[in-house]
């Protein structure tokens, strides 16, 4: 923890509920180049499990989830 991850795009999903964070995260992943990292910030309690599974299903890499009070920060690396 605490290491800086270089991010290339950021997506604010605060206040949005399932399926919005998943849908918007997918859209942003599509805009990344291979090797780039997306940071998604969400506060829907469902997002933790949903984003994890989305990233796994799409075959990308979830570098880290940082929990900060009621917010999640996801760092997603596009690998293909």
């Amino acid at each position: 923890m605490g290491g800086q991850i270089k991010t290339h795009r950021e997506l604010d999903c605060l206040g949005l509920y399932c399926p919005e964070p998943v849908f918007r995260t997918r859209q942003e992943i599509d805009k990344l180049a291979v090797g780039q990292v997306l940071e998604v910030i969400a506060d829907d309690p469902a997002a933790e499990e949903d984003i994890k599974r989305l990233v796994k299903r799409l075959g990308h890499q979830l570098l880290e989830i940082r929990k900060e009070k009621d917010r999640f920060h996801f760092f997603i690396k596009k690998v293909k």
Binding site: E20, F23, T25, R26, L54, R57, L58
Partner: protein, 140 residues
Amino acid sequence: MPRKRKKLAIIVHSGTLDKLYCAFILGSTATAMDMETHLYFTFWGLNMLVKGGLEKAGLPATYKHMEEQLKKKLKEMKYPTPYELLKRMKASGLLKIYACSPTMEMFGVKREDLIPEVDEIAGAAAFLDLASDADITLLV
């Protein structure tokens, strides 16, 4: 070898907002997860494919008294409408929409009455054929 896409097949039988959301939230999430999605609309669901139908969807009689409150809340949540979810699925290129042929005849619905997103008018054999190799099959 590339992994075969997962496939979701849903029979949309209901024409009320609560159940349409069930089908469309699952469908739009499936396409976001790179799954092929097939929606077969029959009975009250088919009536939702008639132009203007999705916009008019409300709650069933038992919950009618909660409809106004729910719709207000959905707006506050900036929640996508069923038609917006359907358009998203379509834009992914992974959605196919089928309209049930006998239902169309029962309700006097013509091809030109349907929204342009409908791919095919189909029957039971078509659904069973595509569902027979689907990974997830649901009736809503």
